[in-house]
Symmetry: C3
Subunit: 140 residues, 3 copies
Amino acid sequence: MPWHQTHIRLRPRPRGFHLVTGELVGALPELARFKVGLAHFFIQHTSASLCVNENADPDVRADLARWFDRAVPENAPYFEHTAEGPDDMPAHVKSTLLGTAVTVPIRDGRLALGTWQGIYLGEHRESGGARTVVVTLQGE
Amino acid sequence: MPWHQTHIRLRPRPRGFHLVTGELVGALPELARFKVGLAHFFIQHTSASLCVNENADPDVRADLARWFDRAVPENAPYFEHTAEGPDDMPAHVKSTLLGTAVTVPIRDGRLALGTWQGIYLGEHRESGGARTVVVTLQGE
Amino acid sequence: MPWHQTHIRLRPRPRGFHLVTGELVGALPELARFKVGLAHFFIQHTSASLCVNENADPDVRADLARWFDRAVPENAPYFEHTAEGPDDMPAHVKSTLLGTAVTVPIRDGRLALGTWQGIYLGEHRESGGARTVVVTLQGE
């Protein structure tokens, strides 16, 4: 079983950063078959992102959202792509900054995340809806 | 054919964000041979970047450039690496922020990008010239 | 030898950006066995990061640190995750912005970095201590 590729549909979440490690791993029983490998998670959207950070204190996720909302303000006078609402162009900037993919090592059938690491969904729209992640597992 | 690695020379472009999905895919007829896999694109420069965002409205790319030019100003008084011109150190910061690589899933011989996603070249110099991308395809 | 996975313990460094290509490659004699492939470097921490930028002038790394310290200020009034010191929450933001992983192509037994590229450790804490990087090599 060298390759496994599937889609995972993340349930809708409000704007902000959300810990989704459990939802992703829960949909991937195939992880257990890999002794060593890589797991690639790719979100097929341009106003959301995937990233890795602290899995414990929810204040970190809220502070992260507050920093991003200040760094990428809504209604900036130089934004011209405004037809889809004030949260749209900032969402594109945040998604580009944070990226649409994370690759995590697999070791002994599990993601080899650090003790304090988790995978975040960055939801940058007010109502982004369900989000599709293409997962590609490979290894031996 | 589990691995295919090649260089693609992207033609010179002006400073800004440019949709290069077509130029990349057009140079990769080998994609068609992979049922499932990953495509890794790596730009061998420190003042340009690769990222993924909206493939439709060019205003998104222009707004992105305007946001980055404000977030990373030229002639900041604390920059000391100034010998190569005012656009050089900001280019290094933007390249580091956005990253030099994107990895995209392959499905049924095509890049499994979302409907609205494309691959951007971030050209952060005024005259960066042609840019080299190392492409590594793997799969089965 | 299609897969090789190991841990590398980077020695402690002060806050800032540090060129670690030599320390990483020196711990990976296995690179020589791959004609073509990918090297994935993943740091198992939430207040440090890995990225790629200029390998020559140390001013670039110092300017990068100065830019990040201004973009993500300590003691921002909206930060609530403050119990671990003023450098902690900014470190989480920087780590999320820059990312915890880099993937570099392998060609003829060596990392296919550009002439001017090196791998940086972004150490975002004052005293982050030694940092663990999981390295996964694959190829043929």
